[in-house]
């Protein structure tokens, strides 16, 4: 059997068979799914039932406040701040006579953000209805109809050349771009350092010299990089299968109404939590999901993951070969490699908000940043936001960059793995890389 293949096999199997690999591969998606399902479930199920007594001094509200799952409004007589909780109410609401200002809500415990905002929304709506009725003589039935019609007007976003217009969803593209960029960022770190530690282990345990008396240092380095890359791909594949499987199971567990509620609830909240709930409810928006070119995105993701990994893994291997026993040395030598990755993630965060900007375009061409930045742009549309020429140039440059870093790293590696004593400086490594022979 080919020697490089033997090395790949060992590097792969020795990692895949480890308990920590099996655990992290199975538990990570399980944890992820449980977290999201749990958050969704709790946000829907675990709403405190608040019974609110309304002291309606304006007389506008009786019959106009809707009871929801979380809130029940009642209009009992003889309730005030001193006795509402004795009578079984969690809060008491006082409405002013003029109906415009100075609404007061008293409760023993502070009302939840969700419930409080619902109370406020309902009051606003009643006041608004009332004003419309008084000033323009519109019946509340008409108002409801108007509201309903208005909310049905949605904007369909189209993009692309005139010939083949596609339906777009920039929110979804943002989510996918952000997620894919971030995933590549994390994996570059995880698997890059795995390569570095592997090289260090070989050097510290002195097996390197035994190995290079059988194989060329380049074969050893390449075998390690490819083997660990295969571990990464395996992990991804298992994750994708598990996450999709578990989510289908979870969405069966959470009934469609729950999903719907989660979606509604999210509209009333704002910020991050709304995003999470939306993501959970996302399985209902299959219509917009089908508008996404999954084939292209997954294909590009695998390409950028693979070559981004290869590009950086060679550099991590070179650093590993220059380090000795002390992990502290690794930290300082790693900095020049980790810096571009961190810069890339910052560029990516910019790029998802303006994917066609010149900064995003340039960053997605440079091999140091392209695996992360380009992945943030692709979901916005190829060839709409990202013309074909840009995608192809970016890919070619990345492949070229990978060949270059591997070539340079191989030379550093060859000298480094047989050097003992103090750690090498960047200056020395530079010399190893560019001297003759």
């Amino acid at each position: 059997m080919n020697k490089t293949l033997l090395i790949i096999k060992r590097e792969y199997l020795s990692r895949v068979k480890k308990k920590t690999f099996i655990l992290s591969t199975v538990l990570t998606p399980l944890f992820f799914v449980l977290l999201i399902t749990g958050v969704t479930y709790i946000s829907v199920q675990d709403v405190d039932q608040e019974k609110i007594a309304v002291v309606d001094r304006s007389g506008l509200f009786k019959g106009n406040l809707e009871n929801t799952k979380a809130l029940t409004f009642e209009f009992p007589a003889g309730v005030d701040t001193s006795n509402y909780d004795d009578k079984g109410y969690s809060a008491v609401l006082f409405t002013p006579k003029d109906s415009l200002s100075n609404y007061q809500l008293f409760s023993k415990k502070q009302l939840g953000v969700f419930a409080a905002s619902q109370v406020e929304n309902q009051i606003n709506k009643v006041v608004e209805n009332n004003l419309l009725k008084e000033k323009y003589r519109i019946s509340s039935k008409d108002i409801d109809t108007i509201r309903k019609q208005a909310s049905e007007a949605k904007v369909d976003k189209f993009y692309g050349e005139r010939a083949e217009v596609k339906k777009g969803n920039s929110g979804l593209a943002y989510g996918i771009g952000y997620g894919a960029g971030f995933l590549i960022y994390i994996t570059l770190f995880i698997y890059g350092t795995m390569v570095m530690r592997g090289v260090m282990e070989e050097k510290v345990s002195r097996i390197a010299e035994v190995m290079v008396s059988s194989v060329k240092p380049f074969q050893l380095m390449l075998g390690k990089i490819i083997g660990i890359g295969a571990v990464g791909l395996t992990q991804f594949l298992i994750w994708i299968v598990l996450i999709v499987g578990l989510f289908s199971a979870a969405s069966a567990f959470l009934s469609p109404e729950t999903m719907q509620q989660a979606g509604e609830a999210s509209q009333q909240m704002n910020g991050q939590s709304a995003m999470a709930a939306k993501a959970a409810a996302g399985f209902n928006i299959s219509e917009s999901l089908s508008g996404v070119n999954w084939f292209l995105i997954i294909g590009c993701f695998l390409f950028y993951f693979l070559f981004g990994y290869l590009f950086y893994a060679a550099l991590f291997a070179a650093v590993g070969s220059a380090v000795n026993e002390d992990p502290q040395d690794a930290q300082s030598l790693m900095l020049p490699i980790t810096m571009p990755i961190i810069i890339a993630i910052m560029l990516m965060i910019k790029a998802v908000t303006s994917p066609a900007s010149s900064m995003a375009t340039w960053a997605s061409m440079i091999p140091f940043f392209s695996p992360i930045v380009m992945m943030a742009r692709i979901p916005f549309g190829v060839p709409g936001t990202v013309p074909y020429w840009q995608l192809i140039t970016s890919m070619l440059l990345l492949v070229g960059g990978f060949l270059l870093t591997t070539w340079v790293s191989a030379k550093i590696y060859r000298t480094g793995i047989l050097m003992y004593g103090k750690k090498a400086s960047w200056k020395e490594m530079w010399k190893w890389a560019f001297r003759k022979a």
């Binding site: 033997l6 345990s205 035994v210 008396s213």
Partner: protein
């Protein structure tokens, strides 16, 4: 006898020093060859060139009569570096199979050979253990087995006995002899001279990147002998017996005399001289220098040790 390895004017210069500076020698197949030298003399660099890890800056290596081709010839070489190394977390059996496969053996052959050697060295129970669970001496034995597993034509052992107890050292020593008898050539690098005298057929001494000695153990000793003799008489020696121009007295002790013969005279001249004095000789021996003495004499006063502390590359 055929030559397995020919080194011709090998040179390897690092930035700050000449690690190997024009070294040539031949090694006969089936011999046990000792490569000697103080620390930092260039032995490891030389061995790394022979194992194809380094390329010489100039000069060439002929392996089995043909130009050394690292890509294919490494299959025929077994190298046990001074810094032993194995994957600490890998199971021993698996590891041995893996390393043998990298030397071009098939998996089935490798397993068969490993079983053979493990039985021979009573290591059968180690198969599923990890290297980190072994003592240093046990690791050493394992490393030796892995080095010779693929039946290399040329076996290079760098300090093979360090860390071994006398029993295991003998075990390995016997194996080295057996391998040589079966036609393998062994290069043996060490600074333990008593082992060299015991084992090696042929030695080369390097110092400061240059070859300073080359020959069989006996040739080397003959070349460096200092005409020292020990003579035993049946009675104590008296000062008047020793007044002669034939030799210089080094030491007297009771009935025994140690002398240094002046080079222009023969052994017989000395014997005749004592017989002429009417003394009875019980024993007459030439004292050959030990390799250790020769080594120290040749290496001392060069800046060998100073050089060992210079940074390499």
């Amino acid at each position: 006898m055929s030559t397995i390895l020919e080194l011709q004017h090998l040179k390897k210069y690092y930035a700050t020093q000449k690690a190997v500076d024009d070294i040539s020698f031949n090694i006969n197949s089936g011999s046990i060859f000792g490569l000697l030298g103080p620390n930092g003399a260039g032995k490891t660099t030389l061995l790394r060139m022979i194992t194809g890890i380094f390329y010489p800056d100039s000069g060439q290596i002929l392996f089995d009569g043909k130009k050394f081709d690292p890509l294919n010839d490494v299959q025929l070489i077994g190298y046990m570096p001074e810094e032993r190394g194995l994957y600490k977390k890998m199971k021993i059996g698996e590891q041995a199979v893996y390393l043998a496969q990298l030397k071009g053996m098939s998996k089935a052959d490798a397993i068969e050979k490993i079983k053979f050697w493990f039985t021979k060295f009573e290591m059968q129970s180690w198969w599923n253990k990890k290297v980190e669970d072994l003592s240093k001496g046990m690791q050493q034995k394992l490393q030796f087995v892995i080095t010779v597993l693929h039946e290399p034509k040329l076996i290079i052992l760098d300090e093979p006995f360090s860390g071994l107890d006398p029993l295991n050292a003998n075990l390995i020593k016997d194996e080295i002899h057996r391998l040589a008898q079966n036609g393998s050539t062994i290069i043996f690098s060490t600074h333990r001279m008593e082992q060299v005298e015991e084992i090696c057929d042929h030695i080369v001494l390097v110092n400061l990147g240059r070859k300073i000695l080359d020959g069989t153990v006996d040739q080397v000793k003959q070349a460096h002998k200092q005409n020292l003799f020990s003579i035993k008489f049946d009675q104590p020696i008296l000062p008047e017996h020793l007044a002669t121009y034939l030799f210089e007295v080094k030491k007297t002790k009771g009935n025994e005399l140690i002398l240094q013969k002046h080079a222009e005279f023969t052994n017989n001249d000395i014997l005749q001289y004592f017989l002429g004095k009417g003394l009875t000789i019980n024993a007459f021996n030439e004292i050959l220098p030990s390799l250790n003495e020769i080594f120290i004499r040749l290496v001392e006063n060069t800046n060998a040790t100073a050089r060992a502390f210079q940074p390499v590359a």
